[in-house]
Each structure stands twice: as structure tokens, then as C-alpha cells.
Amino acid sequence: MKPLVSILDGNTFVVSDRSGDIDPSPDFPTGFFSYDTRFLSTWQLTLDGERLHPLSVDDVQYFESRYFLVPGEPTHYLDAKVSVIRHRIIGGSFDEEVAVLNHSGEPAELTVRMEVGSDFADLFEIKNPQQKKGRTCAVVGENHLLLRYERQSFRREVNITTTEPGAIDEHGMTFRITIPPHGEWSTRLHLTTRVLGAGGRDFRDSLRMQRSRSKEEMEQELDQWLAQAPRLGSDCEPLSTAYRRSLIDLAALRYTSITHATQLVTAGLPWFMTLFGRDSMFTCLQALPFLPQMVPPTLRTLAGLQGTRIDDFRDEEPGKLLHELRYGESAGFEEQPHSPYFGSADSTPLFVILVDEYERWSGDSDLVRTLEWHVRAALDWIDSYGDLLGTGYIWYETRNPESGLENQCWKDSPDAISYADGRLPDFPRATCELQGYAYDAKIRGARLARTFWNDPAYADRLEREAAELKERFNRDFWVPDGEYYAIALDTDGRPVDTLSSNIGHLLWSGIVPPDRAAKVAAHLLGPKLFSGWGVRTLATDAGRYNPLGYHVGTVWPFDNSMIAWGLWRYGFRREAGIICQAMCDAARFFNGRLPEAFAGYDRSRTTYPVQYPTACSPQAWSAGTPLLLLRVLLGLEPQGEHLIINPAVPEGMGRIELLDIPGRWRRVDALGRSRPQQEADTEP
């Protein structure tokens, strides 16, 4: 596959090749996308009928790129008499300036052609190519080309205008030009998308949403975003690079939600550029000490879309939090269930956890009171619809066998949950980390009930239930032979006995008794799970282990950050430090941008982390990883009105200084040093 260049602004993004061209690809997401629709699938620039060859690509900003091109293929003699510069910006709309430069002393007569086309594919049709059910047409104007897709009342349009006159046809624009000696010709192509809504207007206008922004506005927003975040000073260069990269990537992944016209974070480019309950909440948990402003819009939007009834197609139940929200054709015509889809068993307890964690940092008790009934409904779900089999655990099984998700935990690929010998258990399944989240949700829910809702009886009940769950869980999920927790229970209540990274999440949740924690930590850092670059999703001796398996052997940075948090919670600072160090080492090979996942090969076999071929990047919870690791290294924990700072920086990492950490204490600085002696410093 050719290397690709992406620029993005939340859920509007362009993926092209290194010339800036988009070649038709029915089954791969190259193109210009917005709100889950591909608005351009062909965008090819030629000079006198010839494709152009990239000399270099400049990723100026996440929303801006430049391509320096010359005619001819790389094997040919480069005709340096003419060159082309494409300058592209995305900010709600899509703008491209095409400049042709004549480097010779003679006038240059040239034909510049931009081939334009759109298949208006829904993102899910790219995952699974199929015939479009609607009609596409092209309208040729004097200086514009309009492409339109219609299916009943559903309509999508993209309009392309040019500032320089040209010959417009249904498939593109042709410019016959003469450039004076050492002169230049350029045109600006401006693309706007329309999604038809109320009164024949674009839905963003009907809902009073912000549309496109200028480059200056985008730059200003980014500067502001970066200025709000704590400043990091560190001797560890990879950590500093990763920190800055993460802040920028999280800015890039923000988009304006239709439902609440606030900014939410999308999950990952290119497949997951939309709201996911699980991903957005994990990202918020990771980023809370740094970018707390991300949390309230996420919580409000998820609460606004909380499940209200039983819907088998969408796996919806009252009180459940959504899994995925899409805006495209397949969601509208109910070919896919994402309007929204509720197929995740963890988003509901995570919602309770995030509300509590957010209050502990921010002191924003108003939001806790505002969300009281949503949180109560979420806690009710855990014990009602969540407990499918009535055995005191969260179970999942999709009721939509056509297009629902089989595995409704974070490891949601079909083979992710297996017995040690490779067999797959029947449904429903109760994975272990779900029970940890449920336990934590009850403990945190109790604190909210007692502190903010004036309901001590409910708090007592939740704590009692949490204690019972902990006891039950430690009896049923423990695999005595291996001394670890099973990945799941099967329908007979027997352990699905695979060793997996899920046990690290149990430490984070606090469901592990102290006398078992050391065993869990030893497994996480042991040779079966720890590759040297991080903790693998699945142990190397499992039947389905594959170092390139999506959830069955690769290393996920997000997973590792939660594991490091869990180890820290139980006092395993050295072990948490090893994971932080490994992630920093890996980040170096990705220019500070940790991908969704990388291969699980042992570090002794590879001097670098092997890239997972189709990993999403940037990915929100991978971008959140360096942030959470910093929290773990510095030991940042809110306690009452104060921030506890208790650093444990691994040897060789040097100084880590984080200034202006926001929270209920306003701003606080933290300092950690690996040698000669660890220090803590607080300046309220």
C-alpha cells in the first residue's frame, strides 16, 4: 500500500497519497470525508495528462499540508522546468490551492486537469463494499461543479468552485494556461459539503452549529488549547515529544456533536471518526489532569443519548450508555444500528466512574447533581439488564445477529475472548474487566450518593453490593492453577481460563484483594504477557496468541496506560515505571504518536516495535496514553481540596516537571526526579 497523508478536523478529514491525489478505492477509506460520508473518492491532478510525482510533503499542521510535485515518474528524468505546489487546508470545508511554477526562461503552455468524482460511500460500505441504492448526478456550472447523491429524502452534496476560469465537465475541471517565463499560475479550489436537513437547508445551519473556520481561527484555537494544558519540562525527550504530540492530536480529533453542539473527541482515524462511548470516556479519564474541559461535553452528550427502552436492533436497554453514534446513510436507513448503537457492556459503569473521577479533580458538584438521574439509571442497569443471567455479573450477548457486535467489551473482535486452548465460549459472556468496572462504579456511586445526593441509604446499599460482588468475583474468576483471573465466565459459570491483559484493568478497578495483587502484577510483567515494549493483549501460550492479532497478541498503548494506573494503585511503582518506560521507548519510533496497537513480538527479536498494519492513527486513547503515564509517574491523586503528588520516576528518566496542573486547587506544579533521590514538590 502506498504511504498516505491525512489531515483532519474532527470527523471531517482527507486521506490522500503523497501527491495529494485520491484514487478511487471502494474498499479503503481514502478520500474526503465528513460525518461518515465520503464526499470525494476521486481527486487527481495531472499536467498535460501526466500524473505528478512527490518531491516532499509538508505536514504543516494537523489541518494543513503542502505537496511539492514535479511531472513524471521517479524512474524518469525529472523535468524540473515546471513544478507544482498543492496547499491544502481542512476546517469544516476543504480548500486547496494549486500553483504551477514555470522555472524556464520560455513561456509554458500547459493543460492542468483535476479529475473529480464522488461515490458518496457510507463508511460502512467501505468496510463492506456494495452497490449504492440512490442516484448520483453532476451539475456543471460556470465556475463550479456540484455532485449530488439522493436516496428518497436523503441527500448529500459536494460543491467544488474554482477561482480561475476553466472548462468544467461532469468529471472535473480543465485549465489551459500559459505561464510567463519564471512565472506562476494558481487557482483556489473550495469544497463545501451539504447534508440536507430541515427546510432543505444544511442540518448544521438548522441546528445552529458552527460550520467552517478559517486557518487563522484554527491556529488560534490550537494555541489556546495548548496554552490551557500544563507545561511539561523533562529530561526525557521521547516523553516531551509524545506529550506535545498527544495534546495536538486530541485537539485534532475534536468535532462538533450534532446532538449538543459541543466538542467531543472522535476515536481514531480513519475508521472511528465518531463518538464512541468507551473510547471517549477512557480518553477523558486519561486526559482529566491535563484537559479537563473535554469531560463535561462528553458526559452531557452521552447522558442525553442514554438508552430509554428495549431495542433489539440497537442492543439498547433503559439506562445503558451508547457504544457508537454515526450520521451516515447506513444508520439512517437502518442497514446498520448506529443511531446510536448500544452494543457495549462497559460504557455504562464507565460513565459512573468518569462522573466521579471528574468531580474529584474539578470540584464541579453542579454537574454531579445535574447528572444524578442518569448516573442512578446507569447503576440500575448494572444490576438489571446488565445482569442478563441473574448471577450477579455483567453479561453481554447481542440481540442483533446481523450487524451487532459479538464481543461487547473493549476487545471486540470476534476471536478476542477464548479459552486457553483456543476454543471460543458461548454467549452470553461475562468478561472479567466488566465486573471490575461494575465494582468501581458502585464504590464511586456510593460516594456520589453520600456526598451530593443526600442519600446515605443508597450509598450503604451500593457499598454492600460492591463488597458482595468482590467476594463473588474472587471466588468465581480466580484460576487457582495459574494464580490469575480468567478472562471471562462462560454460561455455566466456569472460568474461560486464558491469561490476558484484562487482569491489569482489575487492578485499576480495585476489585483485587491485596494478597492477590502481587500475583497479578507478576503475570503482567512476566514473559508471557510483557513483550519488552508493553503488555500484550493475550499471553504467548494461549491457543489464539498471534503477535499480529488485533486483540490476541498485539500491544495496545491505551491498555498499558490503564494497567500502569492499576499497578500504581496497588503500590507497584517499579512495575508501573517499567510500563511507562517501555511506552516511552516505543513512542520514539512513532515520532511521539503512539498508534492504536503494535505487534506483540518479543523485544529481544526486534530493535523497534513492529507496526500493526492497519492501526488507526491518530487514535484518541493512544493519544491519551502519555498523559495518563505522566500522572502515574508523578503519582497525581486528588484528595479533598488538594492534589497529592508522589512521584516515582524510573531510573534514567531524569527530571519530570509538570507546571500548572488544573483542578479544584486551581493550578499546582509537580516535580519528579529519578535520581539521586525522589522528590515531591507542591506549590498551591
Binding site: H374, L389, P401, D415, L424, G549
Partner: protein, 172 residues
């Protein structure tokens, strides 16, 4: 306008105490369109309360729906969010009011409690014996299903289909 629609509007105030315990305020106008005729309904929301009126007033949001489609909403045969995404219904103004109304629409007719279904299935499979696990690892196909996992783009093939009740085969 159908009887079901009238019943639906009449039931809103009584259900608000239970369904609308969220801080939320404003008026939603619902335009029911049939040919050239449009009927207006107004629902004014407040925490734990909702009032329904036919009297013209200022609205913070407007939901426009064909009358027969709205009848499908109130009888649980169609879902408003999807209808808005395919532009069969439209919303303008403060969309939170539309989401508030959404809470009052019922489930589809004949829908069963998923717990009942799951427990029956497990009990039945216990009776017929244990054939509920599947084969060791092999190459195979991948899911095209909803959601998170980017099926179809993994370098290694993944799953073999799970056999057993209530599960499915994947088609690549």
C-alpha cells in the same frame, strides 16, 4: 392524525415525572404533515414535567414529521433518530428537546425482555447438552458487524464461526 398520536400526546404529562428527571427546559413544536395540511403540537418541558398544548406559541425547536411516520414512532414501529438521519423527519433549533421527546416513545411491539430470552436460551442449551464451544484456532473470515472493530482490514484472518444457539456466521 391518528388515535395513537393523540393518546401519545395525552400520556406525556403523566409520564414526565418518571421519564424526565433531568434538568431540561423549553418548548418543542411538533409539525405533523399530511399532504398540504400541517398540525401543530407543542410540548413544554421542565424537570419532571411536561405540558402539551395545541395553542400557538414560541418554540425553541421544531420537529417536522409526516403524520404516518409519527404514528410509527408512537407505536414503536420506527425510531425517530434514524428517521432524522435519513431526512424523513427534520429537527431545527435546540436538539436536546427532540432528545427529551424521544424518551417518551415506546419500545417496538412484541419486544421481549432480553434477560428472559438469555435465561431461556441457557436453560435450553443445558437440557440439550454441552455443544457450545467451538474449534481451535484456524484461519477464517471476519465480522462485518457494527462497531468498533475494523473488520475486513486485519492482516491475519481471525475467527471461525461460533456454533451454538443465538450466534452467527461471519461473512467476509
Amino acid at each position: 392524525m391518528t388515535g395513537a398520536t393523540v393518546d401519545f400526546f395525552n400520556s406525556i404529562p403523566g409520564k414526565a415525572q418518571l421519564l424526565l428527571r433531568i434538568p431540561m427546559a423549553g418548548t418543542l413544536r411538533i409539525d405533523l404533515v399530511e399532504g398540504h395540511r400541517t398540525e401543530h403540537w407543542y410540548v413544554t418541558f421542565a424537570p419532571g414535567q411536561a405540558q402539551v398544548s395545541r395553542d400557538e406559541q414560541v418554540a425553541d425547536a421544531i420537529l417536522t414529521v409526516p403524520t404516518d411516520l409519527f404514528d410509527e414512532f408512537v407505536t414503536g414501529r420506527s425510531r425517530p433518530n434514524a428517521a432524522v438521519l435519513r431526512n424523513d423527519a427534520t429537527v431545527s433549533g435546540d436538539i436536546r428537546l427532540f432528545l427529551a421527546l424521544r424518551r417518551f416513545f415506546p419500545a417496538a411491539p412484541g419486544v421481549r425482555d432480553p434477560r428472559e430470552v438469555a435465561r431461556e436460551k441457557v436453560a435450553a442449551s443445558r437440557q440439550t447438552g454441552h455443544q457450545r464451544t467451538t474449534n481451535p484456532p484456524s484461519t477464517g473470515q471476519h465480522s462485518t458487524g457494527a462497531g468498533r472493530y475494523s473488520g475486513g482490514h486485519q492482516p491475519n484472518a481471525v475467527d471461525d464461526p461460533v456454533t451454538g444457539p443465538g450466534t452467527r456466521e461471519h461473512t467476509g
